[in-house]
Structure formats: C-alpha cells, structure tokens
C-alpha cells in the first residue's frame, strides 16, 4: 500500500464517521423547531431565562453531572417514568434551547430532567444546595456552602436569607451563582406535550 493511498483511506474513514454522525444528525435533530401550544400561545420547549442559562454552567462546574443524568427513558426497558423522574420520555426536541446540552453519565443520584416539577419551590432547592441533609439525613449529595455568603444578622432579616440557623446567628444568603443554579434547576421540566412524545 502506498502512503498516499493509506492517507486517502484514513481520511475517508474519518470523514465517513464524522459526516455520518454529525451531518446526518444535523438533518435529523439540528433543524428541529419549537412547537406552538395553541392553548397557552407559548412555544414548547420553553426558552430558559438568561439566569437559568448561567445556572447551567454552574451546574456543570459544580460537577452535578458526575452523579445526575438529564434524560428520562421510556417505559420499555427502564423504570425512569415509574420512579417519577418525568411524565414522559425525553426526546431530542427537549434539548432545543439547552446551551450547552448534556445527558450525564451516571445515576448515583436521581435523574434531574424534571426536578423543576418535583421540587418547584426555590427555597427548598436553595436549602438542598446549602445542605442536602437538612431535609433527608441519609442524603449522599454533598453540600455546597461556598455558593452562599454568611452575613452578620442585623435588626432586619433579609428576604433572601435561608430559614435555617447558622453559626454565630449569621444569615445565609445565596450568591448569584446559587440563584442561577436554582433558576436552572427550576427550568428543567418536560411537562408539555410534543408530537413525538405526547403526555398521556
């Protein structure tokens, strides 16, 4: 085999793998459009807020993806829906406005595709991020106190302060990162119907 022949063969093989997956993938999932919900007159999937998009980066930076997935599988061959992780399976259109998009690789903890439905209250999410064992003593999820500021309590308790006592009676105030992370978690829900994955 000549070196030029080998070079051409290798290049074609790599191009085939690349184009076969990315280019054909683009035609199938890269051109998806949001769907108009005629009842609400909003499009689905919903466009996340800027704060939620910032929160997605906090989510990745804190390594949440090491233990949590973001993909609910259908009822055939998996128990995701039976576990209450979502009302339906996740489909490519659900990821339309997720920037960046990811599915995770491990389920040491539960899937978070629909955490916005399961835990809609921002305060509860904040408490979980501060100390997951406040609500569930056996939680294996680590705390993230560095996403909060401790501030000496004055006569007025700030509205954003977490309703938990801390050392020296300081107030626990979420940082911008914590607020963004909560906004992102709240934006994770697929409680809308899509033609390819209707709600039953």
């Amino acid at each position: 085999m000549k070196s030029t022949q080998a070079l051409v063969l290798v290049f074609l093989a790599l191009l085939f793998a690349w184009a076969g997956q990315i280019a054909l993938g683009f035609f199938q999932v890269g051109k998806l459009e949001p769907i108009l919900n005629e009842e609400t007159n909003y499009t689905v999937p919903p466009v996340p807020s800027g704060l939620a998009q910032t929160g997605s980066r906090v989510f990745a930076a804190q390594g949440c993806l090491e233990c949590h997935s973001l993909s609910v599988r259908g009822p055939t061959g998996s128990a995701d829906i039976a576990r209450g992780w979502g009302p339906r399976r996740t489909v490519p259109r659900d990821y339309l406005f997720r920037e960046p998009a990811w599915i995770g690789s491990s389920r040491i903890g539960p899937d978070l595709s629909n955490i916005g439905i399961r835990l809609p209250d921002a305060n509860e999410l904040m408490m979980h991020i501060w100390n997951p064992r406040l609500k569930k003593a056996s939680s294996t999820c680590p705390p993230h106190p560095w996403l909060f500021d401790l501030k000496v309590s004055g006569p007025i308790i700030e509205k954003e302060a977490l309703p938990v006592p801390s050392k020296d009676w300081k107030q626990i105030l979420p940082t911008y990162q914590a607020k963004a992370l909560v906004a992102y978690l709240q934006s994770l829900h697929s409680d809308y119907s899509l033609p390819e994955a209707p709600l039953k």
Partner: protein, 478 residues
Amino acid sequence: MNAPLSSFSKSSLASLILLIGSVSWALLGAGLQVLATLQLLVPSLAYLLPIPWIAYGHLAPLTTFLFTYGWITSGFLGVLLILIPRISGIPFRYGKLLTSAALLWQIAVLIGVAEIIWNGATGLTSLPFSRSVTCLFLASFLVLGTGLTRGLGRSWKSGPLLPRLYLLAALLALPLGLGTAEILLRGGLAPGALQIIAQLVWHSFLHHLWLTPLALVLLFQLLPTLTGRPVGSLSLGLLAWGATIGLGGWIGMSLASEGPVPSWLQSAGVVATILLAVAVWGNGTLLKPLLDGKIEECRRQVALRFLAVSLWSYFVSYAWLAFLAIPGIRQATTFTVVAQATQSLLLFSFYGNALAGAIYALLPASRTVGWPRHPALTIHFWFSTLGIASVASCYGIAGILQGLALNDPGVPMSTIASYLRPFLSVVLLGQIAWWIGQLAFSTLFFATLLKLFESVAPVAIFPLPRDESPSSLNPAHH
C-alpha cells in the same frame, strides 16, 4: 538509516519533557482519584471538609482529564518521539521547536488542571477545559504531529506497515476530532441535541481513533522486536486496521440509550461496537502467537510483561464494550458505574500498560541508561495489575447490580447507594494499590534518569550506543 547517534538527540529533550510530565501527572491523578473515591464512599467527608476544589464534582472530571491528556497522551507522544525517528532513520529537525511544543503541551495540561480546580469543568464529555486550552493542545500537536508524520515518510516502503498505518490514522484523528468538537460545541454551530451527538463523536475519536491506534502502534512495533518473532499475515492486519479506523468513530453512540440521540445512530453505535470485535479478533490472531511460550521472557523482561498485559487488556476492553452494547444489557447498564469499569480497562489497563512497557523498552535508547534490577520493578507491575483488576471488576459488577436496581422502581436510590458501598471499598483499595505502583515506577524513573542506581539489568531494545541501526526495530513483516 545512516543517521548518527547525535542527530536523534534533537528530539530527546522533547520526549523527556513529555515523559516527565506523563509520570508526574499520573502520580497526581492517582492521588486525587483516591480522594474522589473516598468522598463517594464516605459522603460525610464532604460535610466535614466543605472545600470546593477538593469536592467530588471537581475531582472526578479533573482526574479523567489528568489521565487522558496528562498521563496517557503526553506519555504516548513522548515514547513516539523516541521510537519514530529511530525506526525510520530520519532524525527530527528543529529540536528547539519540538522542545517548545512539548513544554506547551505540559502548560496546556497545567492550565486545564487550574481551570477545573478553580472554576470547575465545562460538563462537556472529554472536553472539560476551555477553548484556550484546546488552542494550546492543537498548537503543540501541530508541531509534534508534523514531526512524527515526517518520520513516517522514508520508511514507508521498508519498515513494518501496520504501526505506520495506525500512527497515520491517529495523527489525523486527533486534530480532526478535537478541532470539530471545539467548533461545534463552543462555536454555536451545533444546536440542542446535536451537541450531545458531537460530544459522543469526540469521545469516540479520542479513545478509539487516537489512543487505541497509538497503543496498537506500540504493540505492533515493540512486541515483534522484544520477542524476535515477525507478525504473521499482513492481509489480516490490514483488515483489522480498516475495521478499527472505519468503526472506531461510531462506538460512542452505543453509550446513549434513548433520550436526545436518534435511535438509528444508537443502533449504528451498537453494530459498530459489536463489529469491532472483528478488528480485535484480527489483531489478536496476529499478536497473540508472538507471546506463545514466552512466559519466561515475560518474567525476565519487564517491558514485555507490561506489553503482554496491555495486549490481553485490549481483548478484554473491547469484548467488554461489545458485551455492554448488547440490547437489554445496554439499557440496563446505561447511567451506571460500568462506565468507570470501561474507563479502567481502556485507560489504565490497555493504554497504561502499553505506555509503561514502551517507556521500559525505549527510555534506555533515548537516555543511554539501563533499568536497575530493583524491587520497585516488581512492585510497579504487581500493584498496578492487581489494582486495575480489582477496580475494573468491582466497577463492572457494581454497575450491573446498580443497573438492575435502577430498573426496579421499588428500590429507593439510597438503597442503591448502599449496594455500591462494598464495591467502592475494594475500588478504593485497588486505586491505592495502583498509586503505590505508580509511586514505585516514578521513583525508579527519576532515579534512573539521574543515574542514582547501578544499572545491572538493562532491558534496552536498542543496542546503544555503538550499533544504533534502526533495523534492530524492524523484524516484523515487510
């Protein structure tokens, strides 16, 4: 062929920088990996020491990054810079440029480490660092890769063909995969679910079209040399090479189960993974006979011992991947710790042992030193091998159990976590054993470079310094 000894020294500083970096990053990664697993095993530790940069979420991507880009890639480039000019007989020009590129690679790893520690990972599969680090990697690779490609030229017709073909494929796959992943994922060209496809394609390119071919370069070049036996059938080798290159880029799709990846792509990934068994079978048929009846030589030659384990790990890794791709098993084991078992088999056992064997075989040629007959050699081999075996087997069994439990809605998540704990204990012990093995190796490595030991048992494959004929590395087929 006729290049004098001094002409090879132009690349020796570059290879030394890459190898020193590789050994150091492996040692650091091994320590951090133990710390990460300890937190997974005892979650209360995170409550006692809530420090962000040693949190599990930071350490897990950091160790994967260190092992992939710091240890294995840096090490592979280092040994290839020793190997390629000697087998081709074409010494590298521009030694200072190569040295700068080797330094740049280490700087890129260092910046990547600092970024992940302080800012956290990006969450992108196999791309946990920023765009600036990608640019540094690509700039460094442009110089190192060009140097290696140049070494391929003259020997194309005279030397063994298969290592060159694998090298050629790897040298094209890395820039193509990394460059396109960077553009698609951070250049805003891949919307929504296409980002996940792009991540899986890059993951496949990195492992199966960059690292696996490089490990096969070392196996196809060094095993015939060390055993003195030629590789049998070139046609079978070419078939296996074609299958590896043609199918390697598709394997990542078998990691997805439903979700954002179209089902035809997942099926293609499954088919590719199972068909890749053809390539592994082909290479196995070629390489296994080289080791038949060579147990005594494996005991005597530490390089051959590591390369033999690497060869067996190659079969086991791809057989394991094919097993996981079987429908039903794939659905049950997606999102479980079997991913860590696969990583242990590929990174630590297959690539890691090929790298260790190559360093043992090639460093004496580059530095004109011999390895001493020292207990650290035995410690390195046995602690590494037993460590990896226990980590991979425990993660494998734990992952299958975890998958079965996840598919039973009656089993709470806290119970599944408790199932994992006994396995994680053994994994932790295995990782500590591997760390001890690396510690022994790095002690030996640095002591040998500094010539602190009497060199009593050199295992150099080049009869340096007088006869440096590259033909001593070419006993394979022509």
